[in-house]
Structures are given as C-alpha cells and as structure tokens.
Amino acid sequence: MLLLLLDILIMARILHWQSVHEFKQVCMQNVQPDLNLVNLFYMDNKMTKGFTKIFGLIIALAASSAQALPTLYFDGDISYSSSSGELSVVSVLTATQEIFPSPELVGSSLDFSASLSSVDVSSSIRTIGQFSGGPGDDISVIDGDSNNLLFGEFTSLTMMGRNGKDSGRITGTMNATDGSLQSYFGQGQLIALVFNMNTVFSADMFNNSFTGNIDGRIEGEARPVPAPGVLALLGFGLIFMGIIRTHSRHL
C-alpha cells in the first residue's frame, strides 16, 4: 500500500516536472506568454502540488499507524491450594518488549493470585477452571530496582488443559490500576503455559492441591509507533520533496 502511494507521489511529481518543462519551453519561444496558458499552468501546478501534499500526508499517516505491543515476559512457579481455592503465581520477569526504558529484570517479581469460582467439566476432553480476583489488586509487577511497574485487577482468569495432560494454559484479562507502566497496560491480556505440574487436568483436579511451573506474558494495549522501515520511507519521501521544492525555486 505504501509503495503504491509512493508511486503515485512520484508520478505526480513527474507530471509536475513535465508541465514546468513545457511551460519553460513555451516561455522561451514566446517573449510574452499567453495569459490563458499562464493561468492554465498555475492551475495545473497548484493541483499537482495539492495532489502531492495530500499523498504525502497519507504516507505520513500510514507511517505512524504501525503498532507496537508492550509485553512483559515472565517465568516462575504456580501453586493451587484446594483448602483456600487460591491459585498463586510467583515469578520473575525474563524479558520485555516495547517498554522504554527497559526495567531491571534481575531481582524483579511478577506475582498474582485469584480464587477458583467454578469448574467447567462439560467436556470429557478438557477441563476449565474459572477464577476471579479478590478485593484490591490481584497482580503486581516490581522491577529489580524496586520500582512499582504495574498493579492490576483481573476481569477474567481461566486455567484449562486437555484431560490427562500435565500441561495447559492460563489466559486472562486485567485492568491496570497503578504503576509506572499503567499507561502501557490499560487493558492487559495474560497468557501463560502451565507445565511440569504434579497433577494432570481432570474433572476433579481442583479437589487437590498442586504445583507446577509457568511461562507466560502480559500484553498491553497496541501503541501507534513509526516502524523503522516506514520511517526510512517517510524520510526518503521528505528529502525527495525538499529537493523538488529547491528545484522548483530555481526555475
């Protein structure tokens, strides 16, 4: 799409060059150019310039529409207590994406907890546990420099897997309530692989306590940022237009 727009822009500029060149030739042939011809040239020139400005703007807008997805990656341990019905995750940040400045990962923590609210055993193939957050924040993320990065409340949290398997997944949504990264994670999405559990997914799995490992991420809201490739294209276009403008002034 961007290449198409660039092509149109270049074509418009070539047309503009041609009309300037033709006008110069007419001027060289006629000492006093025809007023109608002058008016026609200015009309054409204005239209071409307007045309290129519109497409330049479209390219600029297109360049700024690239999306970045701020992400926190984490690894840690998961445990479920059948007596309290509470699922707890204690983990550390292993990487981040599209978050600036990058938080200190060493010594960081990403912890969350939620309470079992229902178990869906309607299928003999898989089991789904539905969890809900408690009062106050359900999730906290603190970096290695003790900066409060993110606090939030779950709006949904589900643990599901195929019956008979010791691995499955946790998915959830959260509302960010506080922390320096709150603006990145207004409505965050959590997805994690749960593995190496000392139980397997089954209809009665939540009747007993279990532990395991977890590996996942929290994705924030997509943020519009210029993509490097498109930025280069935009820069190229701006330089090109600057050269054209300089060239036009010399005519």
Binding site: V92, S123, I125, S167, R169, T171, D215
Partner: protein, 189 residues
C-alpha cells in the same frame, strides 16, 4: 498354587512398573521459547505443522538463576502427519513428524508431536519427545521434550530434558500394589 502365586506376582510387578510409564514432562532447566519480534509464530494445517520462534533464556527451578542467552531462532517443520480440526467432539487432534533446529544450539527430529486444538482454529497445545543429533547443547543428552501453546500469533514453549514421573492415579495404583505385595508376602509367610 505356585502358578497362581507367580501370576499374582507378575500382575503386581506390572502395576508397580506402570506408574513410571504413563506420564512424561519437561523438567527444568529448560530453554525458554517464545515468538518475539519478527518471528512468524506457528501454523497448523491439516497436513503440516510449522513453528518459528526465539529461544532467549535458560530457566531454572530457582528463577533467580535464569540465564539470558543470545537469541536463537527455533524452527519446527513437519514432513509427515496430519491434523483433524474436529477429531474429538469438536476438539482437534493430530500428530506430526519432522525436523527441528535451535540455531547452533540443537538440531534433531521429532516423530510423535501431538497437537491438541481447542476447536477455534486459534488455540492449540503441542508436545513432543525429541531426538537430538547436533548442536552445542547436545552434550551427553540425545533426547528431550518440548511442550507449548499456540494462541493466534503467540507461541510459548519450554524445551528441556524429559522426565518420567508418576501421576496421582498411577501413584495410587503404586500404593495399592505395594499393599497387595505386602499382603501376598504375609500370606506366604
């Protein structure tokens, strides 16, 4: 009488051995694999399984020991197998064989990669035992295991050593088997 006792012993021995055979898991330390940056992610079709992601860390039981490694591209490419999106009461299931590589770290083959679909053509779980045949991480290990999830463009996976561990139901069998063995021994005495 002796034949009956031998049969009992044989059955009990079978029960005792069974727990160790029913359940395999990835153990830590393991390679942390996720889709990052420009990774293609995973694609499951009726005849192919492909995955492109990044291995970026080795994770340990103690999270404080996690080691960042230089990013290595992970690829899994099937050359046999199939997937049925409605194999099991609306849930998909398939198995694939093929080759994999993790940059210069590991390379090898997989023959029984199981793919379990949640029926929406977006969410899948997958797992497979792996046979290593190259790579700097291979060392004395010639086999391993990968377990992971796919959710649209997202890939989360762990690749590590394979562990055979008893599951609770099998552990129960193990316990009753032991009690039975003690009972037989006492009767014999």
């Amino acid at each position: 009488m002796n034949i009956r006792q031998d049969i009992k012993r044989l059955l009990l021995a079978t029960v005792l051995l069974a727990p160790g055979l029913v359940h395999a898991a990835v153990t830590l330390p393991a390679l942390d694999i996720q889709d990052m940056g420009s990774d293609v992610g995973a694609d499951v079709t009726s005849t192919t399984f492909t995955l492109e992601a990044t291995a970026f860390a080795i994770v340990f039981d103690d999270s404080n020991l996690n080691i960042d490694i230089a990013d290595e591209t992970v690829t899994f490419t099937s050359n046999s197998g199939s997937y049925d999106s409605a194999a099991d009461s609306g849930f998909g299931y398939g198995t694939f064989g093929g080759t994999f590589s993790i940059g210069s770290l590991l390379g090898g083959t997989f023959s029984g990669l199981e793919v379990f679909g949640y029926g929406n053509d977006i969410d899948y779980d997958f797992e497979s035992d792996l046979a290593f045949n190259s790579g700097s991480l291979m060392g004395s290990y010639t086999s391993g295991r990968i377990e992971g999830l796919i959710s649209g463009d997202i890939v989360e996976a762990k690749l590590g050593k394979v562990a055979v561990v008893p599951v609770p139901a099998a552990a129960w069998l193990f316990g009753t088997g032991l009690i039975g063995l003690v009972g037989v021994a006492r009767r014999k005495a």
